[in-house]
């Protein structure tokens, strides 16, 4: 690659994807946010404060761990896990919420809202809101409130108000709709912390920039430990924030293959899945143009996945671009395969992954044996499985 990658353009476009597709009332706050983002992302004081928080509050850098036993067992490439599961609150989500919350503080906003699917982003947002003393309201689909009750309790403990969203399919996309409605109503004092690389520009780029610390650290750590760049990156993709966070610093390194793993639910061929990049088509939802799961009339269809965090009909617009250009490949893993990944990592390495991250583990189990032992795969272990104990126990017929 001779030209340096520099997506998106100033209007938030990655080719035909991205952009700002919102009602007029949201235009002024989005422009205000964009101005603040442009200003503070290069402000040494802001960066210093963010770095200090990431180090002392989140516990960064997160380790890059060589899963030797699992690599040996699979008999192929050496697998390195980027341990985002060890972050405060248990997932990569906090990298972004801290960044946006510090931005909110500088913009003089006193109220924070967020949407959440699995509850990890909600917990990360409630956490930082508690620390900064900001009012916090979390929107969560009513279905997710039930299947992630532990995280609902955590958010409430942290002082957040959790609103169960009863409209539409009562999952992540409806939580996002409701958060947008709140924002449009309370634009003067409210900052909307979007948890993934979705929404109108500048959100996808901003969330990516806050998550890119994952890839920057991983690159440096891989060079330190193995003396060279990895051969492949693997990360699960719902909205795609942990994946873009890992991928972004490697985009110009042409020798590094990238695999985004979507949730195939019951199987892509059944139609009951959450894999828009593998089986959807371009459209406009939640402020940007990207691949969507929709019917012939352009109505968004219900998604299915064992993991609430991947249960979303869209995907970050930059992933749509990376797919079309062929820079990254997007594959999919079914619920059952994800469970195999879950058990494999748990029993082989003593690390219990989140069901979302288990999709990346399951794909790694397919990929590693196809590569020779001197190759290196970095897999993003984006979150830990504590939140999924209820779901897993239930599947095994155990009452906790």
């Amino acid at each position: 690659m001779t030209e340096k990658y520099n997506m998106p353009d100033t209007r938030g476009h990655c080719g035909p994807y991205g952009g700002i597709f919102v009602a007029e009332t949201l235009m002024p706050p989005i422009q205000e946010l964009n101005a603040a983002y442009q200003r503070y992302m290069v402000d040494p004081e802001f960066i210093a404060e963010l770095d200090a928080d990431l180090k002392y509050y989140v516990g960064r850098p997160s380790p890059l761990y060589h899963a030797e036993r699992w690599s040996r067992e699979l008999g192929g490439a050496q697998i390195y896990l980027k341990r985002e599961d060890l972050n405060h609150t248990g997932a990569h989500k906090i990298n972004n919420t801290i960044g946006q919350a510090l931005l909110a503080k500088r913009m003089g906003k006193t109220r924070i809202i967020a949407e959440t699917g699995a509850g990890q982003h909600g917990v990360a947002t409630a956490t930082i809101a508690a620390r900064l003393g900001l009012e916090c309201v979390i929107y969560m689909g009513a279905v997710d409130v039930v299947r992630q009750s532990l995280n609902v309790y955590r958010m409430k403990l942290l002082g957040a108000t959790v609103v169960a969203v009863e409209s539409g399919s009562k999952t992540l996309k409806d939580a996002l709709n409701e958060a947008l409605r709140d924002w449009v109503t309370n634009v003067d004092n409210t900052f909307y912390i979007i948890g993934t690389v979705a929404g109108p520009h500048p959100y996808p780029a901003m969330v990516r920039d806050f998550q890119a610390i994952i890839g920057r650290e991983a690159k440096q750590q891989c060079i330190e430990q193995a003396g060279r760049l990895p051969d492949a990156l693997v990360a699960c993709v719902g909205g795609g924030s942990n994946a873009i966070g890992l991928f972004y610093p490697f985009i110009d390194d042409a020798s590094v293959a990238m695999y985004g793993v979507e949730a195939a639910g019951d199987g892509v061929e059944t139609g009951r899945h959450s894999a828009p990049l593998c089986a959807g088509r371009p459209g406009v939802l939640h402020g940007n143009r990207t691949y969507l799961m929709e019917d012939d009339d352009g109505e968004i269809i219900e998604t299915h996945s064992i993991s609430a965090g991947l249960d979303y009909p869209g995907v970050g617009p930059e992933h749509a671009w990376l797919k079309d250009t062929g820079r990254a490949q997007y594959v999919n893993i079914t619920d059952n395969e994800a469970l195999e990944g879950f058990y494999a990592l748990t029993r082989m390495e003593g690390i219990i992954p989140a069901l979302e991250s288990s999709h990346a583990m399951a794909y790694t189990m397919k990929l590693a044996p196809t590569m020779s032992k001197d190759k290196i795969i970095i897999v993003n272990l984006s979150g830990r499985g504590d939140k999924d104990m209820q779901t897993m126990a239930q599947r095994e017929g155990i009452m906790l």
Partner: protein, 267 residues
């Protein structure tokens, strides 16, 4: 001259203001909408805004969200809404019809296919809530080439630069959303609207329809004094929702409310 431009010019001559009802096509079922449209015209409305249901109506409050869900449960779609307008035109060639909805159904159909089909159905205007002029270049050009007015929204927080942008991209009229929030919410503040309208008028000569927060004859009259048209939506849809099992009553109550608004606005 487009039907919409003609309508506002005709109203201006007699010093009257446009009464613009909004209902969601296919709510509560597809058979209700066509006779309702004709009944609204008989009640004295000037322009009809027909909502195209969408699965994720991000800018709408609960009343219009539920209307969308009822319509979608009956498989209402953009194509069927266009067919409905075609039916309406068989007996009414005068009343302008504006489609209002979200951009994704249009994306799915393709902008060019949509512009062709909308012209075929004799649609007068298209208002796409989540397609600001910044992203609408292609769409606006196609609509104008097919003699359809692209209608854009203005908000209480719109600055001069945005108003000028809407003025350049839009035609027919501009729709001023009188409060920050979703459809069907809160009460509008007359003084605020008045101040804002002065700023808007300074930046555009297009007629201004005002919506969000118009609930009864009294608010309709107040708003009519400020703008060139009054949009009423959630107040009508609430009646459909309340009388889903007795649609004759729903239609009758909508007609009565619109007739009362008409009378108040003209007095």
């Amino acid at each position: 001259m487009s039907r919409l431009t003609g309508k506002f010019a005709e109203l201006a001559k007699t010093g009257r203001k446009a009464l613009i009802p909004f209902i969601t096509a296919g709510d509560p079922n597809p058979n209700f909408t066509l006779p309702m449209m004709h009944a609204m015209v008989a009640a004295g409305v000037d322009i009809i805004e027909l909502g195209v249901p969408f699965s994720d109506p991000m800018a709408d409050g609960p009343v219009i969200q539920r209307a969308s869900e009822r319509a979608l449960a009956h498989k209402m779609s953009l194509r069927k809404v266009l067919a409905l307008v075609g039916e309406f035109r068989k007996t009414d060639q005068q009343t302008p019809v504006v489609l209002m909805g979200y951009v994704n159904p249009i994306e799915a159909m393709g902008y060019e296919n949509f512009a062709n089909a909308a012209q075929q159905a004799d649609v007068d205007g298209v208002l796409t809530v989540d397609l600001p002029p910044d992203e609408a270049e292609n769409c606006v050009a196609l609509l104008k080439a097919h003699s359809i007015d692209p209608i854009f929204l203005l908000a209480p927080n719109s600055i001069d630069e945005r108003i000028k942008m809407m003025d350049a991209a839009g035609s027919g009229y501009l729709y001023y959303v009188s409060l920050k929030g979703v459809t069907g919410a809160g009460h509008l503040n007359t003084a605020d609207v008045e101040t804002k309208l002065k700023q808007i008028r300074a930046n555009t000569k297009l007629p201004i329809a005002i919506g969000f927060g118009v609930k009864d004859a009294e608010t309709a009259k107040t708003v009519a004094n400020l703008g060139d048209g009054v949009v009423v939506g959630s107040a009508l849809i609430s009646k459909i929702e309340a009388h889903q099992d007795d649609l004759t009553t729903a239609q009758q109550q909508i007609v009565e409310l619109l007739a009362a608004m008409r009378q108040a606005m003209d007095s």
